[in-house]
């Protein structure tokens, strides 16, 4: 009896928090057929927001993949003073609110901050521009690749790498031919997670982007902007698009996860 009660409770919880809200978005989106959806998503502003979101996510994924694999190798394969500090710092973005991350970036890279001013003189605008948005997105998705890769690297051990070395492989050959294939599933998992996080980021971007329509407006900012301006069809259409992307990435992670240990 208790079992059924718990089951019902869990289902009701999910129903009211997840299924009904997301379902209603889809319902509202497609309520008037596909025409308005296509129209809403092909407006100049919407197309720009989609393109910008993908561009920023791509850069964040590239940055965090390189940083993530490098840091995981550093943490797992090397001993150095400050290792524990580095290990703790990596998780900081998970604990800090993205809004704070955005503000912190403005303090460093803003027009009137030393670093930001120096860059500004050389014609590089960071805040209220794409570089700042990429930085903010990298910040919030920083731990994902490291944390996906590090445990698998640990489990992989050093013997295969040492075997490769004794067979004459250089450091790079060993990395490319032995280490990367050994962590490929974990890496793919981390990349997908990072991608999902980057596509859905709102808070940090709201602060650093300046929300300039048609310039620094990403898909999440677009949804909020349309909603505030009573353009509900566009808001719902974009929201559904984001939800669809999220579901696809979720499915991808499910596909990738069980293979993590082969």
């Amino acid at each position: 009896m208790a079992k059924y009660l718990l089951r019902a409770l869990a289902l009701i919880y999910l129903l009211f928090l997840l299924v009904i809200p997301v379902g209603l978005i889809a319902w509202r989106t497609f309520g008037d057929g596909l025409g308005p959806v296509v129209e809403a998503l092909t407006s100049d502003e919407a197309l720009h927001a989609i393109k910008l979101t993908l561009t920023i996510a791509a850069w964040a994924v590239v940055g965090n993949t390189i940083f993530g694999v490098g840091t995981a190798v550093l943490l797992v394969r090397h001993d150095f003073p400050g290792k524990r500090l580095l290990n703790a710092l990596i998780d900081l973005p998970l604990a800090v609110s993205p809004v704070i991350a955005g503000l912190a970036l403005i303090l460093v890279y803003g027009k009137f901050a030393p670093v930001g001013g120096w860059l500004e003189q050389r014609g590089i605008q960071v805040i209220f521009s794409i570089p700042g948005m990429v930085l903010a997105t990298i910040f919030v998705s920083l731990p994902l690749v490291v944390r996906a890769v590090a445990p698998v690297l640990e489990e992989l051990g050093v013997e295969q790498e040492q075997a490769a070395q004794t067979l004459g492989a250089t450091g790079w050959q060993t990395f490319r031919r032995i280490t990367i294939p050994g962590i490929r599933w974990a890496l793919a998992y981390g990349v997908v997670l990072c991608m999902a996080r980057a596509l859905g980021e709102y808070g940090a971007l709201a602060v650093v982007s300046g929300r300039i329509v048609g310039e620094t407006q990403t898909l999440t900012l677009f949804v909020e902007d349309r909603f505030q301006n009573f353009d509900q069809p566009a808001a719902f259409a974009a929201a559904t698009l984001l939800a669809l992307i999220a579901i696809v990435t979720l499915l991808l992670t499910k596909l990738l996860r069980p293979k993590g240990n082969d």
Binding site: Q160, Q165, T166
Partner: protein, 320 residues
């Protein structure tokens, strides 16, 4: 000399693992580094391969000082206890690895890998993955992989340690035969004295980070340098103030000059061999006799026998 190790010291933290170790390994020989676990033998092997750095001392391989040379430039083959198979590559690609990173022509790689797979009897397994092989097959693959780059020296770290007894014995014989065919200078680490005596031409006994004795299996068995080596290499028992091999004890039912009286406590028949357990005062002693000798004595538990070392027995004064 294929390998000359001179005055090598190595500590992990504050624990010394190797102390002033010097070893010469002759070209074309098959040498065992034998010793109890924690004796430093694996560390010595890894230092030869370049996988560890000695704190002091030098390693010379084929006349070249290799002490500071990276592992990939030493031209040694290394076989790990747990195979270190490249799990994402087929058997063929595993064996081809060393040749591929050297950018050898494709046709040459294919020919060489085929040869090696034949040598280790894995030609049928070329397209399988390591996960589909048994432990013994994986280790043979690892051997072929190490041999593929034609190393000057082949190093094996407890190569049969992870295998069950039956496969172990087979691979032992097989390694011996392989060495006779390929003639590459080979050093393997083992804690199993029987394995060392069965396979090696030369045994280096290492204990507590020091070389205790070097010699052929017969020399070390017959003339152990100290009680430790004697008891590590084979069974020993204590007769008076001496250590002696149980098969080097003569027993008689009548008093003999120089013989010690002992009371039989138990007789164990192990097929051809008979084990006689006795007491001298309060100390246990045992002798290993052939069935014929034991039967001709006609003894039973409670009887008194007179023991003395046989004429050619090796005796070592006990440390105490």
């Amino acid at each position: 000399m294929a390998i000359e190790v001179r005055d090598v010291n190595k500590s992990f933290g504050t624990t010394p693992v190797l102390r002033d170790v010097s070893v010469d390994i002759a070209s074309g020989s098959l040498t065992a580094l034998l010793g109890p676990s924690g004796g430093g033998k694996s560390t010595l092997l890894r230092i030869i391969a370049g996988l560890e750095q000695p704190d002091t001392g030098t390693v010379v391989i084929s006349g070249v000082d290799a002490t500071r040379l990276a592992p990939q430039r030493r031209n040694v083959g290394f076989v790990f206890q747990h195979y270190a198979a490249f799990k994402h590559l087929s058997v063929f690609r595993n064996v081809a690895f060393g040749l591929e990173v050297r950018k050898r022509p494709r046709a040459e790689v294919r020919r060489r890998v085929r040869e090696l797979l034949e040598l280790v009897h894995l030609e049928q397994m070329a397209d399988r993955y390591p996960a589909q092989l048994s432990g013994g097959q994986r280790q043979r693959m690892a051997l072929a992989r190490a041999l593929a780059v034609e190393p000057q020296v082949l190093l094996l770290d407890e190569p049969f340690g992870a295998l069950d007894a039956q496969v172990r014995k087979e691979l032992r014989t097989w390694l011996r035969r392989l060495h006779d065919e390929v003639h590459v200078t080979t050093v393997f680490v083992t804690h199993d004295q029987e394995e060392a005596m069965d396979v090696a031409d030369e045994i280096v006994v290492l204990a507590n980070g020091e070389v205790v004795q070097v010699g052929s299996p017969d020399e070390i068995y017959d003339n152990p340098a100290n009680p430790f080596v004697m008891s590590f290499l084979g069974p020993v028992t204590r007769l008076g103030e001496y250590l002696v091999r149980p098969h080097d004890i003569d027993a008689s039912v009548t008093p003999q000059p120089g013989a010690t009286a002992a009371v039989v406590t138990r007789i164990v028949r192990l097929g051809f061999e008979v084990r006689i357990e006795m007491r001298i005062d309060d100390r246990e002693v045992w002798a290993q006799l052939t069935r014929g000798t034991a039967d001709s004595l006609g003894i039973a538990p409670g009887d008194t026998v007179y023991l003395r070392p046989s004429p050619h027995a090796k005796l070592l004064a006990t440390a105490a």
